[in-house]
Amino acid sequence: MALVQLESWMALAPTLLLALSALALFVIDSIDPDTTNRPLLAGTATVGSLASLAVAVWFITTGVGDPARRGELALFGDQLIVDQMALFFMVIVAVVTALISIASYDYLRGHVYQSEYYSLVLLAATGMSTMATANSLVTVFIALELASLPSYALVSILKDNRGSVEAGLKYFLIGALSSAIFVYGISLVYGATGHLQLEAVAENVGAEGFDGLLGVGVLMVIGGVAYKTASVPFHFWAPEAYEGAPAPIAAFLSSASKAAGFVIAFRIFTTAFPLEAMTEIGFDWTMAFVVLAIVTMTVGNFAAATQENVKRMLAYSSVGHAGYALIGLAGLAVDGGQIVLAAAMMHLFVYGFMNTGAFLFVAMAEYWGVGRTFEDYNGLSSQAPVACGALAVFMFSLAGVPPFGGFFSKYFLFTGILETASGNPWLLAVAAALVINSALSLYYYARLVKAVWFEDPVAGRGQLTQPTGLYVAVVLAGVMTVLVLPGFGPVADAAYAAASALGP
């Protein structure tokens, strides 16, 4: 038991702290609009996200959201809910935000819009954190927009860089399209059930008799989720946006934003569209996710294997990883499947470290100005062995090679699918796709490691500086990717508790 009895709205503290630090940055920028006090700005963002992280971890350890201990907290007439899954994803968002705030300290050197950058990052993080708690289709949509709108600006924050502006425009246009599809889907669900709050929707599935309408609405909601998680068929913005965006922002979008997209997918589909009722009206959405998972991981990995540009390779690999996480929904069944859902959450947790780290290495390469292709990275290890060591950890972890965190989450996914495959034979195809794609991914991840460690250095490359912030962030992410291994127990427990609390 905690020493103090907090008010129930305080359960939102991890989100509120992010919003508060964004406001603090606005105040700092109002006092001195032309400030280039980078330690102060990056420090405020880092402290804010670390505080959010600390509070979220504290809540998890003291049992907030645990039905058996302090209970799930439904706030504002059930519009928001703080349960274990919400806290789990708040942790992921806060970790990624902290890492990229640290890394941006160096990356933004000489940049004009310092405080705008950090406040937009924190506002987007606030949106993602709210997405984790959203328990009604309205709050889901508002939180999604709160996360999306700053992201569009962040992608194109290098205003004088054509690539950055173009990427921002593409991201915005596709985002606007899929938001429209999503909100139309919500309106159809509302039309068919008469409710927006997720539990109320679940109670009214099939009650009004507009089953066809509901089916179309659910399909459109899947479309909106697919955009946010960069899954097929709305994945094509990802390589463009990540390539043009500043690398820390690419890390932010591909880790935190994707995790936030998945948390709303998990919550909407487990809470609002219970499998039992949906199967009764003839719309078994797990089939949709089986297809999406297989297609997404295959498209992502095969496209990644053909890339010459490191950032595009990572972008397609993040599409592939979205496919792995989609297995969590594909594997759900009327009487079980939580183990797969939990494995998908673990995968997103580990992914938050290894993928952020990989993109931050690219940020470091952009900071050095060494170039964008695999060849440009040749022999970097002779000049920056520590960072390249961390890169090797990220790559092998992303590929799912045994000693690292990525292996365990994939292993749990695989065993989880096999366990639930008895109820749904299609899951065997998903398991096969997972193995084949992981094997393929080893090829292109190892290719980057080979370029960095075994190729001869590019002639004429100058001395490489050692940017402190970027180094700290990359090494931290690398250490966490390794440390997740002994610390996997608590993470797995938290994920499993979160998944079983959702329960179909």
């Binding site: 606005f26 105040v27 920028d29 109002s30 609009p33």
Partner: protein, 141 residues
């Protein structure tokens, strides 16, 4: 009789009236082609420049700042309506009735102060060469 038939008839009549008026005037009017009839402005003003002009970004700045006050009013209004009744009720304290609104206004004020300090309300006096085009009365409102 289906009541939609009346709507359909109304739509039909609504379409037929303008079409028939155009057809009748086409049949009755004399045809006098003249070049000045084809000019953009029949007042005689000669158009200059292309149609793709860049609007001053500050139009949008003002619109965005307006939004701050607009949202504020939209929420303040229903709050003000129930405020007295809420205070009279024994369950609601002054803090819980007034606090959230003060917080909300404070957040908007932070936004406004930030925009102000960053020059959103300073109208730029750019040393732009004034052309005939600029002096023309604005007609793209």
């Amino acid at each position: 009789m289906n009541e939609w038939i009346a709507i359909g008839a109304l739509a039909l009549v609504g379409l037929l009236i303008p079409l028939s008026m155009m057809a009748v005037s086409y049949l009755l009017r004399p045809s006098v082609p003249e070049t000045s009839k084809r000019a953009t402005y029949e007042s005689g003003e000669v158009p200059t420049g292309g149609t793709r002009i860049r609007f001053n970004i500050q139009y949008y700045m003002v619109a965005l700042l307006f939004l701050v006050f607009d949202i504020e009013t939209v929420l303040l209004f229903p709050w003000a309506v129930v405020y007295r009744a809420a205070l009279d009720s024994p369950d609601i304290s002054l803090v819980s009735a007034l606090g959230p609104m003060l917080l909300f206004v404070a957040i908007l004020l932070v936004g406004l102060a930030w925009a102000w300090r960053n020059g959103a309300v300073e109208w730029t006096r750019a040393a732009r060469r004034r052309t005939d085009y600029d002096r023309r009365p604005i007609d793209h409102e």
